[in-house]
């Protein structure tokens, strides 16, 4: 795969899109520089969503700050609260009960499922394939109901607390049974969809070779998560996380780094998530779900990395008399913006939004650490 080079010298015109656009699920501004409908360069402006969560977290009690991290993102809200709790747990040396760990993994994987389904549905919508989009949204509804059953809310569930999970999120026999049944339903539906999707020659001809991100470039741009794995690099932080020690799963990779690889990769990863949830349901240990037996003390800056649906999530803060200090959150989309700008180059402008979508953007996650420079 040869490299794509931005050719700034032949720009004919600039086409800005945003901040409100049907292909974007969130506000951002993107300027495409085109020559005869071929994108030569793209510039994504973020900061539209800047709300200052880290500033609000500064000085809050750690429990409160944890629940606030959930409001960073409505798609991967559980990942944020999980990682935030995990940061404090690492710093304070809190032992998490096995059962709580399993429930966190189940929630994490359910969230990965709903995020990947949203990605597939959104991708199909940007392709203007309404039918596939609707089919995936219909499947996604199963996951959303499961999340609502466990967490009590469809979007922000607040599952993790310091030392374990919230009592509401404990899984009894009935819930486990429903989880198990719905996983079967989900797998059946997803298998059907993926077969239809891969065998649809019109869709395949439309997305093969579009928005290519070469492996070399992906590593150079420090891309994370599924977008990196779709270029053929088997790098998944879940293999190193102690939470996933008991689970057996494969790291899925795809060779090409184009839209097709990305979409297929998300679909295949969903099967792995279903596999992990099945293992968790089968082996969930008995015992308490929260460890209240810990003490608060001041710590230096603590760091924690986990793998979330979109890539590597980084939280770090120091604790000072039970309050959060020097909070930094770095989300996967921050690293992937370069990839989005790069993937557009050399494609039709009709595909440009698709190339951005293929990197799974989540600008609401991203817009916190950025300082807006006023004119």
């Amino acid at each position: 795969m040869d490299e794509k080079v931005p050719r700034s010298n032949i720009i004919e015109t600039e086409i800005p899109m945003g901040t409100v656009h049907p292909a974007a699920l969130e506000p951002y501004r993107v300027r495409f520089f085109v020559e005869d409908e071929i994108v030569q360069e793209a510039e994504i402006t973020i900061g539209v969503n800047h709300r200052g969560i880290e500033r609000i977290m500064e000085g809050l009690p750690v429990e409160k700050a944890n629940s606030l991290t959930e409001k960073i993102c409505g798609i991967c809200s559980n990942s944020h609260i999980w990682n935030s709790c995990r940061t404090a747990e690492i710093g304070l040396g809190i032992e998490i009960p096995e059962r709580a760990n399993y429930i966190r993994v189940i929630m994490g994987e359910l969230e990965r499922l709903h995020s990947h389904f949203l990605y597939l549905a959104h991708g199909c919508e940007v392709l203007s394939h309404e039918t596939f989009s609707m089919r995936v949204f219909y499947l996604r509804e199963i996951v959303m109901e499961l999340l609502a059953m466990i967490g009590g809310n469809r979007v922000q569930y607040g599952c993790s607390v310091l030392g374990g999970v919230r009592p509401r999120c404990d899984l009894d026999e009935a819930k486990l049974l429903r989880l198990k049944e719905d996983m079967d339903k989900l797998e059946e539906g997803l298998t059907g969809f993926v077969e239809r999707f891969i065998n649809d020659s019109i869709v395949m001809s439309r997305i093969t070779g579009i928005g290519v991100l070469p492996q070399k470039q992906a590593i150079e741009l420090a891309v994370t998560g599924p977008t990196l794995r779709a270029t053929g690099v088997a790098r998944d932080l879940r293999t190193t996380m102690f939470e996933y020690d008991d689970f057996d799963f494969n790291v899925i990779t795809q060779p090409d780094g184009d839209v097709k690889s990305n979409l297929v990769m998300r679909a295949l990863e969903s099967f792995e998530s279903i596999k992990i949830i099945r293992q968790a349901i089968a082996n969930i240990p008995e015992g308490k779900i929260v460890n209240r037996d810990w003490e608060m003390f001041d710590t230096d800056i603590i760091e924690s990395y986990i793998e979330v649906p979109r890539g590597t999530l980084y939280h770090s803060y120091a604790l000072e008399s039970g309050r959060v200090r020097h909070c930094i959150i770095r989300t996967p989309s921050m690293a992937n913006i370069g990839a989005m700008q790069y993937a557009c180059i050399g494609d039709q402008i009709t595909d440009a939004q698709l190339c951005i979508v293929q990197c799974d953007p989540c600008f609401t996650c991203t817009d916190r650490a950025i300082e807006i420079i006023r004119r």
Binding site: I11, T13, R31, F33, T45, V126, I349, T350, R375
Partner: protein, 332 residues
């Protein structure tokens, strides 16, 4: 006696047009509810919603100032489109066969071309809020290419319509001229007469191929997915129609349904030899043909993504070759 015949035939033509118009308002709803919604496993809107109720609703909306360099021309364009479609239907009624200027294939091709040129002008004149006019600090210190020319998204749409004029509508015109090879005349009257004697053109080899070509051309000229590049939602949102509000949007909505119906009538005239006429049962066949075309279009569009230039060119080339094949077969 003579004047009576003229009055009756004019009356019949008017009633035919009215009936076709009323039926045509149902077509977008039928496509949305019975095809798209059924395929997508949902209930969908009521049948009258997209075709009748939405236009009526827009009629009662405030008439806002249109953002356009030439607002007068921009507002006239949908009316021109509507009149063009109406002229097409008038040309197809048997009463109009007496007018040689209107009832030849050349006139029909010309009218269709007017429709296409309207899209170009609409796209060029519309300056919607959704792209350049969105108040956002784009050209600031630190941004790349601060001095590049800036285009509205409708400008791309306009350029695409031009491209569609040059090669996109080839299939439809080829299909229109395929029956000529059999009837040896470009006048609709003789094409109809020939088919009433020799049976419908559709059931010959050349006719069947031409029908397929016509169907693809029909989808291209109606801008339905997958050929809806000039109003693709993923980049140009609604393309040429972005700025129309209230009454003008009503006309845009009505034109779409009417155009579906008229193209159906065109098919039945050229390929079945049955002109739309209210006084005979043949009108039912015309309605049936337009319904079948709408159904086929709905099914195809529900299962296909939007095509970019990259897929459009080979598709249209292939269809054009098929069209040439059908003409050659007809001539043999």
């Amino acid at each position: 006696m003579f004047s009576n015949t003229v009055i009756y035939s004019i009356l019949a033509a008017i009633i035919t047009i009215l009936v076709c118009f009323i039926i045509s308002t149902l077509l977008p709803g039928i496509e949305r509810k019975y095809i798209h919604a059924r395929i997508q496993q949902r209930i969908g809107p009521i049948v009258i919603a997209p075709g009748i109720m939405a236009p009526i609703k827009f009629m009662f909306k405030e008439n806002v100032k249109v953002e356009s360099p030439v607002p007068g021309l921009y507002k006239v364009l949908p009316i021109i489109c509507f009149i063009v479609v109406m002229c097409l239907l008038i040309a197809l009624t048997p009463q109009a066969f007496a007018i040689p200027a209107l009832s030849s294939l050349v006139a029909i091709v010309g009218l269709l071309k007017v429709e296409e040129i309207c899209y170009v002008l609409m796209g060029a004149l519309s300056k919607s809020v959704m792209s350049v006019r969105m108040p956002f600090p784009d050209q600031i210190k630190g941004a790349v290419h601060n001095n590049a020319t800036r285009s509205f998204i409708e400008d791309i749409s306009s350029r695409r319509s031009l491209r569609m004029i040059t090669y996109g509508s080839f299939p439809l015109y080829l299909a229109l001229f395929a029956p000529v090879t059999q009837a040896r005349s470009i006048f609709l009257e003789e094409i109809v007469a020939y088919q009433q004697v020799h049976g419908p053109f559709l059931f010959t080899v050349s006719g069947a191929i031409a029908a397929i070509v016509f169907f693809i051309g029909y989808m291209i000229i109606l801008n339905e997915y997958p050929f809806s590049i000039i109003k693709a939602k993923c980049d140009v949102i609604e393309g040429p129609y972005m700025e129309y509000a209230s009454k003008y949007r009503t006309i845009v909505y009505l034109t779409r349904g009417f155009f579906m119906m008229v193209l159906g009538a065109l098919f039945s005239v050229l390929f079945l030899g049955i002109p739309p006429l209210i006084t005979s049962w043949s009108i039912l066949i015309v309605v049936l043909v337009s319904l079948v075309l709408v159904f086929m279009m709905g099914i195809l569009s529900a299962f296909s993504p939007v095509f970019t230039n990259r897929q459009l060119l080979p598709t249209i080339l292939g269809t054009t070759l098929l069209g040439i094949l059908s003409i050659v077969l007809g001539l043999l």
